[in-house]
């Protein structure tokens, strides 16, 4: 079982960046006004940010990382590790992490690579960086996470279009021998690989000029092509309601952590109905479960850092808190981490002009 601790590392800072353009779901004209009201209330997304074509996830992560490095007063040549977690890379090849290493003026002795994960990506990313740094040879690392999901979602897909927003984030991680270990429980179920999928453009279904672009009506109000995100809402919904709670409870019991010891629970911002159901399953106090969904939608692997930056900046900036982060979705992949957040640098939300 992938339940483990990573000692001697801590988060030094978190930043996030969103594009300036705002899309209001009340203007989503593919469904009736009444349907829009129910939708906004149920998924909890009033508005979200959209990039214009040409802006990438790495652009948003670059802005986030640059500001964070400045605020932390880090020397760029001391950063030995950069992990870019995203499913909206700049190019099919090469990995985007290299482009970010160059753009951020990091040294050539820096390890840089991509990890292809979405909703669970922030928690996985922390475990990867943490494990590599725990060996003791690397002192400073950057975790860059996020996705552009609006460019590859069909406007004529009412099950997906109103849900997603774009965002990028940066998290600075340092070695510190005095902090309690981060505790992880990570899981996978690849049998649900097609619950959230962009079917074409990879090697399995090579891009085809006829079939890849062809829009198909899957059901009423859902029309999309094979380059679009194809979402099976009910499958993802049932998966999340089935798996997140036992994953969290198993982690807590393994390390004898009482639920009440956790000051804040930051869940991947999937949609309000799903997140609130999970919150009720776990019997968590609403005060301890912040949301950024309302103004930013589901921002994939950026949703946990974005929620911290927009909802908890002041708290994480001047107090010591126990937190749990839990991500779940595409893969299917899910995981939870319990960690201490102690007076971290958390710049105000950054905006990107396309």
């Amino acid at each position: 079982m992938a339940i483990f601790q990573v000692p001697n590392i801590k988060i030094a800072g978190i930043s996030a960046c969103v594009p300036e353009k705002v899309f209001h779901n009340k203007n989503y004209d593919r469904i009736s006004e009444k349907e829009r009201e129910t939708l906004i209330k149920t998924i909890g997304v009033k508005s979200k940010r959209h990039v214009n074509t040409g802006t990438t996830t790495s652009d948003l992560c670059y802005v986030s990382a640059n500001k964070l490095i400045e605020d932390l007063k880090w020397e760029r040549n001391e950063i030995d590790l950069l992990v870019f977690v995203s499913q909206s890379r700049d190019y099919i090849i090469p990995a985007t992490a290299g482009l970010l290493q160059e753009r951020l003026s990091l040294s050539k002795s820096c390890i840089a690579f991509d990890v292809s994960l979405g909703c669970s990506g922030y928690v996985y990313g922390l475990s990867i960086i943490g494990s590599m740094m725990a060996t003791g040879m690397i002192n400073k690392g950057l975790l860059l996470t996020g996705d552009i999901s609006t460019l590859n979602t069909s406007y004529n897909d009412k099950s997906a279009f109103p849900l997603f927003g774009d965002a990028g984030s940066a998290t600075a991680i340092v070695r510190d021998e005095k902090v309690p270990p981060m505790k992880f429980n990570l899981q996978t179920d690849g049998s649900g690989y097609d619950a959230i999928i962009i079917p074409d453009g990879g090697i399995r279904n090579f891009a085809n000029k006829d079939t890849s672009f062809e829009y198909k009506e899957v059901s009423e109000g859902i029309s999309r092509n094979n380059f679009n995100i194809n979402l099976d809402g009910i499958k993802v919904f049932n998966f999340s309601l089935r798996e997140v709670k036992p994953n969290v409870l198993k982690l807590l019991s393994e390390y004898n952590i009482d639920k009440d010891e956790i000051d804040y629970w930051i869940f991947h911002q999937a949609n309000l109905l799903m997140n609130e159901t999970i919150r009720k399953q776990l019997k968590l106090d609403p005060e301890s479960v912040p949301y950024s969904l309302k103004e930013f939608g589901n921002t994939s692997s950026a949703s946990i850092p974005l929620t911290i930056v927009t909802q908890l900046a002041e708290k994480v900036n001047n107090s010591k808190l126990n937190m749990a982060f839990s991500g779940f979705g595409v893969g299917l992949s899910w995981g939870t981490v319990v960690l201490e957040i102690d007076n971290i640098v958390c710049p105000r939300l950054l905006n990107h002009k396309d």
Binding site: L39, G233, I234, N238, T277
Partner: protein
């Protein structure tokens, strides 16, 4: 569980349903908007209330309120 409680909880859950308006023999589609969003609200409701999981296929087969009740009840009984 019994059907009276089951129905009154559904009436509470959906905005477009008034209390004491739904009957066991009612056809779901005729009584309220039985669309994908409301289907998700229903899935979430039975998950929290009865700790059971229902698939899309099972939901599509349910035509009346009684069908939904029988479906949830069978799941609860299978679990025990």
């Amino acid at each position: 569980m019994n059907i009276i409680d089951f129905i009154s909880k559904i009436e509470e859950e959906f905005d477009d349903l008034q209390p004491n308006t739904l009957a066991a023999e009612d056809v779901l589609k005729e009584k309220f908007t039985w669309d994908s969003i409301n289907a998700l609200i229903f899935l979430a409701h039975v998950n929290v209330e009865y700790d059971v999981e229902i698939t899309a296929e099972e939901l599509i087969k349910s035509v009346t309120v009684q069908d939904l009740y029988d479906l949830v009840k069978s799941k609860v009984e299978n679990k025990a």
